[in-house]
């Protein structure tokens, strides 16, 4: 493995400037609830406005409402969003992985049906992978899709499905045969399909984005099957580079850090060494994510690289949170009048999830070491 250093081109820098100016107008400070990176608020109206700018589904082909732009262009846009703790929750998953997933594996009909709604910010997607007995061992999923006349009948339970309550669609990884890895298939399921019940599970900070999905004899037509029967696992693996290598894996607390640094600057005899170390690492992670985005644009699948970054970047986010809490002088209050203090109180509660979601650090370490052995 060898990442290649890269910088933004003039055109990419111009895009960054354009996004900044637009966000200054659309999201003035104080006009929106501050979020933690990809965990930003669900705000369909903001997602539609962003879509109208052409900044969702950027890499999708233009005949399906996309803009034929690059992964680096997307990075440029999302880093501006995350730096402000913008309300990206509604469109995040569709933009990051299922837009590209459907573009790569979908039928003509699926591309025509789903991609324009993704690019316009109207569709919100959730990831239906985990089950009560299948977390890290995802290949053991049991929720079954049985072939019936004209389609499939689904029975079983999915869990930890972030955002399912407000989503329009769920991409579910379902068992279609007994073969451990080749017996899984992806389906695009409407959130309001009869027989599908979505129940919120209260998260540690009291929010209700986490959901449980119960499927009882849910019928989906065959045209909702994404990719070949049995191709679910390899499609899923292909999405991982998109899911893991991005700036969203180390920017969860960027809105907090920005403010914290301004505060530290005013403190005499501050903690310059810690601030310096943190700044340097943040810069380093930014460079790595950019390098991975260039690889994606070159048609590569940097799955190992993405895992390598996520494993350490999520620990960095936790370290930053801890540092801010220590320097706050007391435990931040969840009902403070100061929105930053409230966000810090949320961050300190939800931070443990960053090294769990999207593959735990333990699993990532074995993914990385397998990848390193293969490339050696």
């Amino acid at each position: 493995m060898r990442l290649t250093a890269t910088e933004l081109s003039p055109a990419e820098r111009a895009l960054k400037q354009e996004v900044r100016e637009w966000l200054d107008e659309r999201l003035p400070e104080g006009s929106y609830p501050l979020g933690l990176g990809m965990g930003g608020a669900v705000d369909p109206e903001f997602s539609r406005d962003l879509g109208a700018q052409g900044w969702i589904g950027m890499s999708l082909p233009s005949e399906y409402g996309g803009h034929g732009r690059t992964a680096v262009d997307r990075l440029v846009v999302v880093e501006e969003l995350l730096a402000r703790g913008a309300p990206v929750g509604y469109h995040w998953i569709a933009d990051r992985q299922f837009g590209p997933g459907i573009a790569a594996n979908g039928t003509e009909w699926q591309k025509e049906t789903f991609l324009p709604g993704i690019a316009s910010g109207e569709y919100s997607f959730s990831i239906g992978m985990s089950e009560p007995d299948s977390g890290s061992d995802l290949a053991s999923v049991r929720t079954r899709a049985e072939q019936v006349d004209g389609g499939w009948r689904i029975n079983g339970t999915k869990i930890w499905t972030t955002g399912a309550y407000t989503a329009t669609h769920i991409v579910a990884l379902l068992r279609t045969s007994e073969d451990r890895h080749r017996g899984m298939t992806q389906f695009i399921i409407d959130r309001h399909t009869p027989g599908l019940t979505v129940s919120p599970i209260e998260f540690i900070d009291g929010t209700k984005d986490f959901c449980e999905l119960s499927f009882v004899d849910v019928f989906v037509p065959d045209d909702r099957r994404l990719g070949e029967v049995g191709a679910g696992w390899s499609q899923n693996t292909g999405e991982l580079a998109l899911e893991r290598g991005g700036v969203d894996r180390w920017m969860s607390v960027m809105a907090l850090l920005d403010r914290w640094v301004r505060q530290e600057a005013q403190r005499p005899g501050g903690h310059a060494a810690e601030l310096g170390a943190l700044t340097a690492r943040a810069w380093a992670f930014r460079g790595m994510s950019l390098a991975v985005a260039r690889m994606v644009d070159a048609g590569q699948y940097p799955v190992t690289e993405a895992a390598l970054i996520k494993e350490m970047a999520t620990r960095f986010e936790q370290d930053c949170t801890d540092l801010m809490v220590r320097r706050w002088g007391r435990t931040p209050r969840p009902d403070s009048d100061d929105p930053y203090e409230r966000l810090l109180a949320t961050a300190v509660q939800v931070a443990p999830a960053w090294t769990i979601r999207g593959g735990t650090n333990e699993i990532l370490r074995s993914v990385i070491s397998k990848g390193l052995r293969k490339n050696a």
Binding site: S136, W160, V325, R327, G329, Q349, P352
Partner: protein, 350 residues
Amino acid sequence: MTHEVDPDLRDMLEDFFATEVTPVVVEEAERAGTYAADVWKKAESLDLPWIGIDEECGGAGGSLADLVTLVAEAARRATPAPFVEHHLAAWLVAQAGLDRIEGPLTVSGLTETVEVSGDRLTATLPEVAFAGDASAVVVLAKSEGADVVAVLRPAGATLEPHADIDGTPVPTVVASDAPVVVAPLSVTAEDVRRRALLLRSAVLAGLTRAMFELTQSYTAERHQFGKPVGSFQSVQLHVVTLAQAAEMSQVCVDRAAGALSIGGGEFEVLATAAVTAQNAVQGARSAHQAHGAIGMTREYALQFLTRRVQTWRQRWQSQSDVEDAVAGWALEAPSLSGLIARHREEGVVA
């Protein structure tokens, strides 16, 4: 000298809290924004809240070692009741030579200076845990330069509701020309803060032990890839980290209690506060990591512990201030090796 904890007392306390404080009790108290009144009543009937207060002052007697055991065992079950606050308040009342006041009591004035003039108090007291449920707020205060105790009845004040990260009600108590009973204190404000820091450390030690126990049993039960996740080395590392944290914190708390009980003990209490906070924070990370998604939900009991870690790690004094204070000792000591190995007996540091 060892600082042995009375094993019978520890067993009794362990049983008591294990039986009385179920996750349902913790959850209900939080939802209602109050304390577990039934648990408190039962504890009262056994005189538990009065452990560590001298008998001649209306307490149940017992050593500091007994007291930290009580506090740690209560924390181990995430007990939503003011054992720490009540003790500090009752101890202040006793040190001021006042008669016992029936509880639950709570305490204020540990983080900021409160001035009282005559027998009237005008002050805004932030984050007074369980003030809405307490029969009195006992305030560490200053009157004409001297350390005093001021006893404020809630009826004389207004409360602005707030809740902590762990759901504990921590209202702001606003007293405006409220009548208070004031008495001079026979110990210094520093003594009071040291005791508070020791009890905070005991809470963190109890929480850390509980996180260890929960993680150990969960990782033995949860199967992935056809075996218990606890059989994977990287998960074992988390369990080991927690075991290390739990043992280290408890030993430190017991030693600091011993040092404090023979007078002085400032360095030991500060070092213990630094260690127990670090261990609890690290332990919470490991516990969550080993649990996966389920540990992040309100349905599962881990969050009762880890949210409490977040509130207690900086209760009354920030972690960085504690660490700075420990550093101060190191910089002033003739040698670091001498400082950490010093031997203490009644009032003598060798």
